[in-house]
């Protein structure tokens, strides 16, 4: 079962569709399905998650079946199939980062934000989750924040507190 939370149908802006067109032009004639992963990233950057309605429209745009989009969106871990916080924090929890304290950062986030992994704070600002290796092992612990995927290295509980404060003040 595809557990996607439904919402009112989305309408892609002409700016977004122009970006779609540019990406589609990168592949040979008839191979437009190659644009699927980049297009889903664009959708997610716009809406902060990927809804069924958005996936159906991407399918229509690429002239492929909806199921071809669903199977891709559910395979790759980066696509959010339900709404996230405005800042979705992803903390690396794989071996090398754990050697330098990633688990502490994850439990600290849970305490600081007052929500469990995968949940959104009541103000809608934050959600967090542990993810597998982000390829920055020498600078761990690390986290990234979607949709920009800005990167924060050598984390301490203090630097995480500061980050949360800065982001809260920015909003």
């Amino acid at each position: 079962m595809l557990k996607v939370e439904e919402q009112t149908p989305v309408v892609f802006s002409s700016e977004l569709l122009a970006k779609f067109d540019e990406i589609k032009s990168r592949y040979p004639e008839g191979k437009q399905k190659s644009a699927l992963l980049p297009l889903l990233h664009l959708v997610q950057a716009e809406y902060l998650w990927v809804s069924t309605s958005a996936m159906d429209q991407v399918a229509e745009y690429l002239n492929i079946q909806s199921i071809e989009v669903y199977e891709v969106a559910t395979f790759y871990t980066m696509y959010f199939l339900k709404p996230q916080g405005k800042y979705a924090l992803e903390v690396c929890r794989t071996g090398p980062c754990c050697l330098v304290g990633a688990e502490k950062i994850l439990s600290h986030l849970e305490e600081k934000l007052g929500v469990k992994e995968g949940e959104v704070t009541p103000d809608g600002l934050f959600s967090f989750r542990g993810v597998e290796c982000l390829a920055a092992c020498g600078f761990g612990p690390v986290l990234q924040i979607s949709p920009e995927y800005t990167f924060y290295e050598n984390l301490t509980t203090e630097s995480v507190d500061k980050l949360i404060e800065d982001l809260t003040n920015k909003s």
């Binding site: 980049p38 790759y76 071996g95 020498g138 920009e148």
Partner: protein
């Protein structure tokens, strides 16, 4: 100081721009290749260099190139594998962040050698900042005439695009990467046919790691023979090593292959020793997929000779006493780290990343994670260690792609070298939750084998 070919100018301000990169001699290899060499001559230079794939498998790059089928009227593709996801490995991120033009220059030369008119750099989706850096660099290169139509007036056309992944370790496997690039789930393909015959869109394709492609630049500039003079034996050239874990100075280092492991860990030129004055307990020398070794076998071969950072020396002794260079992801564990916990962590990683296509991997990785979780949390029995051994053995070699092996090897090696620690977790369920097993005799120096008379 050892010789630097890839990172020589890493600290030059503005080296990420075309202007500064050019000032430091950048794009000379493109001029030389397109104006004075034939594609066959470039392949020959790469063969002579002895360059081996830097992504992990270590297959000779020139040979891989020479397998590329060249049927008339069919497009050929070069795809750069920048899906760097192997735990412990972050050299490609580093290279793309700081010297993006080194990769682009390598892509142009390599694409010309292979006859590709369109090439893709498949970057893992999480590296959005690096994707933006590469796209900016490609635009710069294109504006300056290094990409696009009729490059340098030679009649050679090349378009280069960056493709983001979606967050899946498996897409680092070349056929899974091609599936993903075609807009599908990253399920590895059955080989043969190999990508050199039927790759992207069914066309002949070469897939190379970022570092391999960047290494083509110095090979063309200085010649394959010069490159082959660096290093030791069949491990030629320089290698980027990603150093992480409990080290004084973790980071990315370019080494000449053949550097003693001990020097790499302890000298101030490299990692500067173990952090906080602790002792080294174990290492994973080539990314999470390669066997873990106790400190003594990291520094010395079983016969007491020093172990070197090279493909051959690291695998000396097979899996009984050796490991692999892999992708060069060097993870160091200090005396306070728990091997059981780390093995469980890696198992969870492989379980999470298994594509689910082959049952031994899909089911086996889950079993290994569960058993290791049980042992780590003080609920294990002695039978569990044997069961774990049995499960890993049944995964290895029984899957379409190497992820199965990659999941099995860390578990097998942990049991092989650290069985006492597993058994201690089982015999001391309460104590093992409060303290670590410690360093035991894992760092006990290996005596040099006595010289025996030749008979």
């Amino acid at each position: 100081m050892s010789r630097k070919l890839l990172l020589e100018h890493i600290n030059v301000p503005g080296i990420n721009t075309l202007e500064v990169y050019r000032q430091k001699g950048g794009y000379r290899a493109v001029e030389k290749a397109l104006k004075t060499l034939t594609p066959e001559e470039i392949v020959e230079e790469v063969k002579k260099s002895g360059l081996r794939g830097r992504g992990g498998a270590g297959f000779p790059t020139g040979m891989k190139w020479s397998f590329l089928a060249k049927p008339e009227g069919v497009a050929r593709y070069l795809v750069c594998n920048a899906d760097e996801s192997e735990p412990g490995t972050f050299k490609d991120r580093y290279l793309m962040t700081y010297i993006p033009h080194a990769l682009i220059e390598g892509m142009i030369v390599s694409s010309f050698a292979l006859g590709a008119k369109v090439s893709y750099i498949y970057v893992r989706g999480e590296m959005m900042p690096q994707i933006r850096i590469l796209e900016r660099a490609i635009a710069e290169a294109k504006a300056a005439g290094w990409l696009g139509k009729n490059i340098l007036g030679t009649g050679y056309d090349l378009e280069l695009y960056v493709q983001p992944g979606g967050g899946a370790y498996i897409c680092g496997e070349e056929t899974a990467l091609l599936e993903s690039l075609e807009g599908k789930r990253g399920n590895p393909r059955i080989k043969p046919p190999f990508p050199a015959i039927a790759g992207l869109y069914g066309c002949p394709t070469v897939v190379n790691n970022v570092e391999s492609i960047a290494a083509v630049v110095p090979i063309i500039n200085d010649g394959g023979d010069e490159y082959a003079k660096i290093g030791i034996g069949r491990s030629t050239g320089t290698k980027l090593i990603s150093a992480s874990g409990n080290l004084v100075k973790p980071g990315v280092y370019e080494i000449e292959l053949g550097l003693p492991v001990e020097e790499f860990i302890y000298s101030d030129e490299y990692c500067g020793g173990i952090a906080n004055g602790k002792r080294l307990k174990a290492t994973v020398a080539g990314g999470s997929s390669v066997p873990v070794l106790p400190a003594n076998l990291t520094l010395k071969l079983a016969n007491g000779e020093p172990r070197l950072m090279s493909y051959e020396s690291l695998s000396e002794g097979g899996f009984a006493t050796g490991t692999m260079l892999g992708s060069g992801g060097f993870i160091a564990f200090d005396e306070d780290q728990c091997i059981v916990r780390n093995t469980w962590n890696f198992s969870r990683f492989y379980h999470h990343e298994s594509c689910g296509q082959c049952s031994p991997c899909r089911e086996g990785t889950g079993w290994m994670e569960k058993i290791l979780h049980k042992i780590e949390h003080g609920h294990g029995t002695m039978d569990d260690v044997d069961l774990l051994w049995d499960v890993q053995r049944k995964i290895e070699g029984n899957t379409i792609c190497p992820l199965g092996d990659a999941a099995a090897w860390p578990v097998a090696s942990a049991i092989r070298h650290f069985r006492d620690e597993f058994e201690w977790h089982i015999k001391e369920p309460v104590k093992s939750q409060q303290q670590n097993y410690g360093i035991a005799d894992y760092a006990k120096p290996i005596e040099k084998a006595p010289v025996t008379e030749e008979k």
